[in-house]
């Protein structure tokens, strides 16, 4: 992996913030985009833009082909059985809302849905609202203090009333990589389907939906070097075929009369309206860039950054790292003594360092740890060990100023 070349591929990284070279460590919120992705989007609008499907003219066919090829590429990337299982959405949140919406008829009064204590609000509130509407019950698989899930407990929770297990692949706060293959196996033994929230997982773990055996997998493009506003809901064909449509309108119909409408086949059944074609092509380009760079190399590099940063931060007096799972990826949350994360974040920003502070859309998890929030540094393929040094020195300086 040629880190210097990679950094050249992300021109945005080469800039000054508050007079200091930018150190971008907010990758769990969104990643930067390589030239290959920017160029792909630009090329689409320069040469191929047209509305997809149902067009007879040349450009429409070009755009349709490109869009469907992107779907095919993404299907291969996560090893879906067929490209019909790839539904384009705006992102993880919409993917999960879509699923919560179409699963609604399956969830009866007295049924149960299980989530975990480390979920992002996006994989919590849609299920909570669905349970409220349908008089079902939301159950929460607890998190241990070190940031891992207790699978023995999961088995006990999987009563016959449970209709779905919705769980994060990787925690956006703790960095915990959940043993999702094992979780899926346990759930399937009790006949319970599983949704994985792959917002962080897609960029920092190998996603092979067939190997995982998962029923649904949701992710956003922008967390894996693709543009914002494009995401995917993967659903196994046997599931998606049975579930009702989500939004209604163009593209998703088969025949419409004033009396009755029949719906299009998968995946179009779930893609009402003109889709984000440029976004889909950008996502394809991003995944291609990741594959070309080498998935294993990227993960090894990120792991090196995480371990190095953890080791160096732990030397700071009063440092409290939140999340000590054995399997951790690319996310490092911490607090120092009683300092407010907001103070640390503000001073780090003064020193050119972009981190995220606050509850990271996981308020119940913050309550569990009894903290107002954390400072979160998160890594991507383009971060360097030198940046970690700058970051750790900046944390030391900020702590010195605030104490």
């Amino acid at each position: 992996m040629d880190l210097q070349q990679i950094r050249k591929d992300f021109p945005i990284l080469n800039q000054q913030v508050n007079g200091k070279p930018l150190v971008y460590l907010d990758n769990a919120a969104t990643t930067q985009k390589p030239l290959a992705v920017i160029q792909r989007i630009s090329d689409y609008y320069l040469k191929e833009n047209s509305n997809v499907h149902r067009g007879v003219h040349h450009l429409s066919q070009v755009a349709t082909e490109a869009y469907e090829n992107a779907r095919g590429y993404i299907a291969k990337y996560i090893h879906a059985e067929e490209s019909n299982e790839i539904i384009f959405t705006r992102g993880t949140t919409e993917s999960i809302n879509l699923l919560a919406n179409v699963l609604s008829p399956w969830i009866q009064a007295g049924d149960e849905i299980i989530i975990s204590g480390m979920e992002h609000h996006s994989n919590l509130v849609p299920w909570q609202q669905l349970c409220e509407r349908n008089k079902a019950r939301l159950k929460v698989l607890p998190v241990d203090l070190d940031g891992t899930l207790d699978l023995n407990f999961l088995e006990k929770m999987l009563t016959p009333q449970v209709k779905l297990l919705a769980i994060a692949h990787i925690s956006n706060v703790l960095g915990t990589v959940n043993p999702v293959k094992e979780i899926v196996r346990i759930a399937h033994n009790k006949g319970v389907p599983v949704l994985l929230d792959g917002a962080q997982g897609i960029a920092h773990a190998k996603v092979d939906v067939q190997d995982l055996g998962v029923d649904f997998y949701a992710f956003s493009g922008h967390k894996i070097y693709a543009p914002m506003g494009i995401g995917v809901l993967y659903g196994r064909f046997t599931w998606l075929r049975r579930l009702p449509p989500y939004q209604f309108g163009g593209e998703m119909i088969d025949q419409v009369s004033f009396e009755k409408t029949t719906f299009n086949e998968l995946p179009y059944k779930y893609e009402a309206g003109t889709p984000n074609v440029a976004g889909a092509l950008g996502l394809e380009a991003a995944l291609h860039y990741v594959q070309k760079t080498g998935v294993d190399d990227i993960f090894n590099h990120e792991d090196k950054l995480l371990k190095y940063a953890t080791e160096k931060l732990e030397n700071i007096d009063g440092m409290r790292i939140i999340g000590h799972a054995k399997e951790k990826a690319a996310v490092l949350s911490f607090l120092v003594n009683g300092l407010h994360p907001f103070d640390l974040g503000t001073l780090l920003d003064q020193m050119g360092i972009a981190v995220r502070t606050g509850h990271h859309c996981a308020q119940p998890l913050m309550d569990f740890y009894g903290i107002p929030g954390t400072v979160r540094a998160s890594f991507a393929m383009y971060n360097t060990l030198e940046e970690v040094d700058i970051f750790v020195d900046a944390v030391k300086k900020a702590v010195g100023m605030l104490q």
């Binding site: 407010h340 103070d343 003064q350 100023m401």
Partner: protein, 142 residues
Amino acid sequence: MNIAEKEQDVMEEFSVFEDWMDKYSYLIELGKDLPLINEKYKTNQHLISGCQSRVWLYAELKDGKMFLSADSDAIITKGIVSLLVNVLSGHTPSEILEAKLDFLDQIGLKEHLSPTRANGLSSMVKQIMLYARVFQIKLKEE
């Protein structure tokens, strides 16, 4: 010193520091001298909304003058409240309502703060002005 003179003072103090890190150090120091709100007023009622960190602000009227006390769980926020309290506390409600508070723009604080912090600052100013208006009415009634 009237409010305008106090504002002038703050502007001069701030202009000494070229580097924003030094200005933040100064803010942190200011925060340490903030007249702290009585613990019994640290309730939701006195919490200012629109801030990412928690800020409590309390105002009372003594001999026709308004006195402010506050606290926050974030140190820099304490410094920012302290700036406002130093300039405004101890003046009459009418004087406070007439204050231009140009110094917030002049020292570059507003534009330098992240949007979330700038919103918090606006909320603090609004809350102080609200207190001043209530006290002004109260004084007129007396």
